[in-house]
Amino acid sequence: MYASPGARVVGEGRDSYNSLMLTPPAALEAILFAAGEPVEKKRLAQMLEISVADLSLAIVAFEASLASRGLALINTDEEIELRTAPEAAELVKKLWESERGRDLGKAGLETLAVIAYQEGATRGDIDWVRGVNSSASVRTLLLRGLIERREDPTDKRRARYALTSEALAHLGIKRLTDLPRHAELARGVEAHVRTSDVAATSDVPESAV
């Protein structure tokens, strides 16, 4: 199941963590289970004392080992998180009697859709394509932890938005590319939004949202 990169055992020949006989995927599993929240890939590589490239291989192997099991890995560009598999949703729901309100509403879904299918959308992009001021929707999505703000590397005053691991978990998908009709809709949304960069509207300073 787990091929060459994992054949080396984590901590092998070192005292690092007690020369334990855990393969990198097993080590990943333990850490993610214990953390109970998304963990940065960078940090994982450090903890496992492996390169980022080896970590990627370990992630692939770990994910493969999760097939037909009760757990699944959510993979964003920076973090991974262990969650219950989407197929287990009905079952796990029984653990908690009361369920959180989960209706996002039309405006919330549209705003989430722009950010989901056009990674790194700005407030200007969202307003431009929806034709309305989206600050209230963006704020609610932030409050619910479904999106997060990231600094634009080229312009620090501009915020770009991205889906969180929590959002993917609520959508029951493991990564953005698993979104329904991903390639097609991303192309439709993105091509148009991108060309709008110059015309981008919204006189609202992004930092304020």
């Binding site: 109970g36 989901a116 709008s196």
Partner: protein, 250 residues
């Protein structure tokens, strides 16, 4: 005039949603023909809206103006659009196409959201032991809070700043109707030129002309005035059809 399509006026989040609903209700694609077709209903909606969210008024009137431009062009093929106007038309088409995709995407997300939630690991009562950090000190706390509060102030102040005086379609209708009553013959160019920039926040000159044109179309439709264009590039002449009657509008 009643709307041809059942549109609930209070459900509109914005002008693109309205325009797209009107297009989709007619099972059309986003193109000049479709946009020309929905112009009347769109304008009707804008006029029928009594309470407008102030900050969306500019967007609604702006898009109404572009739609009227498209319709005018279809009625008067010789009407030459300026570069800026063509850009507005293209921009509107691109936005509508993109928004149509966004709505499809939103429908897809709505279909799966919350249906197969992947639950997080259960909270284990953690072993708590005191572990402060290097970056924690009293001034850093004060600074962090001041930053948060400053950001909140900005958010809360913003809406007021967006309120701008607007030219309304009704105002333009009134003005045009009065001019028609006092002067039997009036050139469209004269009228549009006499319209003073009401600082709309949009490009007032263009908006003035278009809104005038719209008002004219409305009056023509109601039979209050007759409009003639004698040569392709010439002025549109406006005259009272029934001098004795008071035009009914609005």
């Amino acid at each position: 005039m009643p709307l041809d399509f059942d549109i609930k006026t209070d459900t509109y989040e914005g002008p693109l949603a309205l325009a797209l609903d009107l297009i989709e209700a007619r099972k059309l694609l986003v193109n000049d023909l479709a946009l020309g077709t929905i112009t009347d209903d769109f304008v009707q909606h804008v006029r029928g809206q009594e309470i407008f969210p102030v900050e969306e008024t500019a967007e609604f009137i702006g898009i109404a103006a572009t739609l009227i431009l498209i319709k005018s062009k279809s009625l008067l093929p010789d009407l030459a659009l300026t570069e800026e106007e063509s850009a507005d038309v293209d921009d509107l088409k691109r936005r509508l196409e993109a928004y149509a995709k966004v709505r499809e995407a939103a429908a897809e997300l709505g279909r799966i959201y919350g249906k197969q939630v992947m639950y997080a690991a259960g909270e284990r009562a953690p072993e708590v032991f005191f572990a402060p950090s290097k970056d924690l000190n009293a001034p850093a706390l004060a600074e962090a809070l001041a930053r948060v509060l400053a950001a909140r102030e900005m958010v809360e102040e913003l809406p007021e700043k967006r309120v701008k005086p607007m030219v309304t379609i009704e105002e333009m209708m009134d003005k045009l109707a009065k001019r028609v009553q006092t002067a039997m013959n009036l050139s469209f160019k004269d009228f549009a030129g006499s319209h003073k920039d009401p600082s709309t926040g949009l490009r007032a000159g263009k908006v003035g002309i278009i809104v005038s044109f719209l008002a004219l179309l409305e009056l023509v439709k109601q039979g209050a005035v007759a409009a003639e264009q004698f040569d392709p590039h010439g002025d549109i002449r406006i005259s009272h059809t029934t001098p004795s009657a008071t035009p009914h509008y609005g």
